[in-house]
Every structure is written in structure tokens, then in C-alpha cells.
């Protein structure tokens, strides 16, 4: 019997695959190129000249720093909230049987299935109804609705795969609830929480729709970018920011990939 492994793919397939990948990633390279252009009013191709001056300009723009810092803080706190609530909810749903369990599971997942604009309008009217002024916390609240879901989904899948008697075994061996969580539950769900947390952070970091409805006057980074595109002044600054964001987010993704790959080796060996 002949195996297909090692067989050389036909040239046509290779070309098609290359075009596919090019289509996905070339626009990102375009963003990088425009960060160095000398033309500041429009995106002109090819760039009339190349310069590195926009990096200094960006560095000295306080609005960039404000938006970036707001986005990081919103994403960090939404992720933290999601990690706590999502994990607790996943534990409850997968560990015990109670009336309405399936309903709760559905209601938790709903915000990510709903179009963001629905969530946004709903939250905005709810805030207006209850006289809650728009603030940092209303953005966090909006983001937490979908951040909880991704953490919950990751955690619930992991909980289903871990044996329930492990927790009983830990208690049986003399560990109280806190010790059991620290020494048995957390190590077993850590990689799932890392993956869920990173996804939640990323979702929050580039969220536009829900944010527009819940932010009031403040600008998160994606909303700042959107505004910048409309104003024809110092356009390449947006590209510099985009480029830095891409490079900065790439590092934790590679790190997480490295971590979870290691974890899978442990969980998967010999099973």
C-alpha cells in the first residue's frame, strides 16, 4: 500500500494555496508599508517616499497613549471579571445537576451569538433607564458580557474532560476547598483559562460596536483608529499604532502557544 505522505502536491494546488495565504496576509503588510509613507493625507500607492518620522510623531501624541491605556485597562479588567465569573459558572454547570441548568448554559452563551449591535443597544437603553452615567465601568460591563462566554466555553470543555472523582479524592486526602482548588482544580484547568483569557483579552481589545454604545466620550484604541481614518491629518500615525499592536499581540500569542503545546504533551502522553 502506498502512503500519501511525502507525495509532492501538484503545482496548481501550490499556487492556489500561496494566493490564499497572500490574500490573507498581504493587506497586513500594506499597513506596515503605509506606516513609513511620506504622504499624510491619503493612502497613495506606491508611497511617494519613505520616512520614519511618524514613529516620533505617534510617540508624542497624548491621544494615542490615552486610547491605548484605556483599551488595555478595559481588556485587562473585563478579562479578569470573565475569568472569575466564567470559571465559576462553568464549574457549576459541569459539576452539578440542577433545575434550569441547560437554560443557564444557553443564556450565558447568548451574548456572543447575538449581533453586537443588539447587545450594545440593549445595554445603552438599560444604562439610560437606570440613570447609570457612561464611564470606564460601563465599557467594562459591555465587554464582560462576551468575555465571560469565551472563558466559560473553554473552562466548561475542560471541566467535562476532568474526572469528578479527582476533587473527591483531594478532599478525601485531607485537602479543604481552597487547597483542592489550588492544587487540583487550577492546575487541571490552567491552560484552558489561559487560552480563554487570551481570547477574551483580544476580543475586548478590538471591540468596536458594543463599545460605541457604552463608552460615552471616551475612546478605546479601535474607536480612536476609526476616528483617525475620517480625519485627513497625519494618517500614517494610525498605521504606526496598528503595526505596534500587531507586533505586541504576536508575542503573548506565541507564548501561549508554547505553553499550551507543553501542556498538551503532558495530558496527551500515553492516554
Amino acid at each position: 500500500m502506498r502512503s500519501d505522505h511525502g507525495q509532492i502536491a501538484p503545482l496548481g494546488l501550490k499556487i492556489a494555496a500561496s494566493f490564499g495565504l497572500l490574500f490573507l496576509h498581504a493587506p497586513i503588510l500594506l499597513i506596515f508599508v503605509y506606516a513609513f509613507t511620506t504622504e499624510e493625507k491619503s493612502y497613495q500607492w506606491p508611497p511617494p517616499g519613505l520616512t520614519a518620522q511618524w514613529f516620533a510623531v505617534t510617540w508624542n501624541r497624548p491621544d494615542v497613549w490615552e486610547a491605548l491605556s484605556l483599551s488595555v485597562r478595559v481588556a485587562a479588567i473585563s478579562t479578569a471579571v470573565a475569568l472569575v465569573l466564567g470559571t465559576l459558572c462553568a464549574a457549576a454547570v459541569s459539576r452539578s445537576k440542577f433545575f434550569g441548568r441547560e437554560t443557564i448554559s444557553l443564556l450565558v452563551i447568548l451574548p456572543i451569538a447575538l449581533p453586537g449591535i443588539i447587545t450594545g443597544i440593549a445595554l445603552r437603553s438599560a444604562f439610560a433607564l437606570t440613570d447609570i452615567p457612561f464611564s470606564f465601568w460601563t465599557i467594562v460591563l459591555g465587554h464582560a458580557t462576551f468575555c465571560v462566554v469565551v472563558v466559560y466555553n473553554n473552562a466548561v470543555a475542560r471541566f467535562r474532560r476532568t474526572s469528578g472523582s479527582m476533587i473527591e479524592a483531594s478532599m478525601d486526602l485531607g485537602a479543604d476547598g481552597v487547597q483542592t482548588f489550588r492544587y487540583v482544580v487550577l492546575p487541571n484547568i490552567a491552560t484552558a483559562l489561559l487560552a480563554g483569557g487570551m481570547l477574551a483579552f483580544a476580543l475586548s481589545f478590538d471591540e468596536v460596536i458594543v463599545t460605541t454604545f457604552t463608552a460615552g466620550q471616551q475612546q478605546t484604541l479601535p474607536i480612536w483608529m476609526l476616528e483617525e481614518l475620517i480625519r485627513p491629518r497625519q494618517r500614517p500615525v494610525t498605521n504606526v499604532v496598528a503595526m505596534v499592536v500587531v507586533l505586541v499581540t504576536l508575542l503573548p500569542i506565541l507564548f501561549a502557544y508554547y505553553l499550551t503545546r507543553d501542556g498538551d504533551q503532558i495530558a496527551g502522553s500515553g492516554k
Binding site: S163, E168, M171, D172, L173, G174, I266, A267
Partner: protein, 332 residues
Amino acid sequence: MTPAVSFQKVSRHFGAVKAVDTVDLDIAPGEFFAMLGPSGSGKTTCLRLIAGFEQPTAGLIAIFGERAEGVPPYRRNVNTVFQDYALFPHLNILDNVAYGLMVKGIGKAERHKAAEEALSLVRLPGYGERRPSQLSGGQRQRVALARALVNRPKVLLLDEPLGALDLKLRENMQDELKSLQKVLGITFVFVTHDQGEALSMADHVAVFNDGRIMQVGTPRDIYERPRTRFVADFVGSSNVLPPDFVQRYSGQRRWGSLRPEAIRVVKSTRDDGLSARLVSANYLGATTRLALDADGLRLHAVVPAGTSLPEEGEALVLTFNRDQLHLMDEPA
């Protein structure tokens, strides 16, 4: 003497289901005690009540004289070997075994030494660095045993620990558990649905059915003097004899039981016994099990290998010593 475990009118209800229903039980210190019963009979719930994973709906539980209701599992000097072993996949074998000592705050060197000793006890020395996933089923079971024993429990609970092992391994583990229990002198409480396992290993057996204890006694008691039809049938498949039949032989109208090996089968048409016909013969190796029909009454007999077997349908005479006919407590 204070019993190791004592149940007084203990019930555990799940809604309308009476998993455990007014159970009274005394387990003596240092004995090997088996809880035997079909699945859903309440034996595992009883074990979980001792471990503290379940709390009784009613009744009193004492472990070495100390009241146990409301005491969480981590404050009981009782350890469990779980049916699925429940080893921690993220820890190596040594840290699995040392876990109980670790949460008690015992230093690394000391707990690793104790864990290494416990591994030697279950004949797995030097396996400490491996992961649970690298071990076979039988080895995981030994690790689970070592992990429980390293805490020096007063009572060791075993939940169908041999269920997942193949026959040969199971027989070896039975012997090993038995000798381990003798050496350590710890009270073992063992849950099983395998009557052979219960009879061969235990000092006392409690037979469970429908959340109640049907009978407690030595394996010999249970086997030879069952008190109810259920026990007679479940433990070693005795012949259960109806009251009318028993009356003819003993003069008392009660349900009776007769061990299959107590019946002698003779090829004859004489009428000094019970006439019967052979329905089928089951070859079991050392013995052959015969299914017989005596005027509509289905009986089983066991004859040693090498006996010449009757033909199917052949007329036979069954005899038995009347002392062997056991009268049960169950009313007619």
C-alpha cells in the same frame, strides 16, 4: 469494644429515592468488611456516607466512637480507593502518593520518603517519577492504594477497586489486599457486586438490596444460612424452595434453600428420592452445573468433573441430606 464504623438507623434519600433506608451496621476494628449487592442497592452510598461525600438524611454515624454527621471528608481519618482510581494527571506518582501529606503541611523530604515507602508496600518502588498516564490499570490501582495508605487511615474504603482489572490481575490483587490488610491491621470496607470476591476476602459480609441490609454475617453464614430468598439467590445462586416443598421434608411451611452441591444426582427410576429430568448441563471446568426439572420445580445441582453425566431428558433421582435443607426466616 468501640466499632470502627457504626450506623444507627441511617437513611440517605435523594428526593423520593431511598438510596439507603434505615440501615443499622457495626464494623469491628481491624476487620475486612464487604458490602455486597447488585448495582443500585445502596452499598456505594453507604461507603460515601462513611467517607463524608454524602450526609445522612436521618440517623447517626460514628467512626471509632466519634460522631461523623456534618464532618467534611477532609476532617475524617478515613481514606478511599476510588473505582476509577482518581489519580491526579498533573502530578507524578510520587507527588500523587504524597498529596495527603503535602496538604497537611509535611516537608518535602519527609513526605517523599513516606511516599516512597508506601510505593514499596504496594510493590511499585522506583515508579515515583512516572506520570499516571504511563502506568497500566493494575499499577494505577496500586498507586491509588498507596496514596490512601500513606495517610495511615483508621478505615480504608475501597469502591469496587478490582472491577476494571482482568481476571488474573483481580485474583492476584485479592490476595494482595487481603495480606496487606492483615499486615497493616487497618479496617477495610470493601464494596463489590461480585459475591465470589466478597466471600473469599471478607471477615464479614453485608448483603444489600433496595437500600436495606438483607443480612450481615460471616461468608459461611451468608452462603450456608441465607435468611431471605434474595440472599440465597444472589450469593452463590442457591436453590430457592417454595414453602409447600419445604413442608414435605421438614414439616414447616417456610421458604427454604438448598446449595446446588448438596444435591446428589443418581441415574435411577427408584422412588426413594425426588424424580427429575435433566434440562441442560453447563461445563465449568472443575465442576459441571446441571439444570434439572423436578415436576415443574427448577433445581440446580453441581457435580464434580469426571462424573458420568446423564443424557438430556433422562429420568433421574435426586437425593439430599435433610440437614442441608436450610429454612429461611422469610415468611411463606
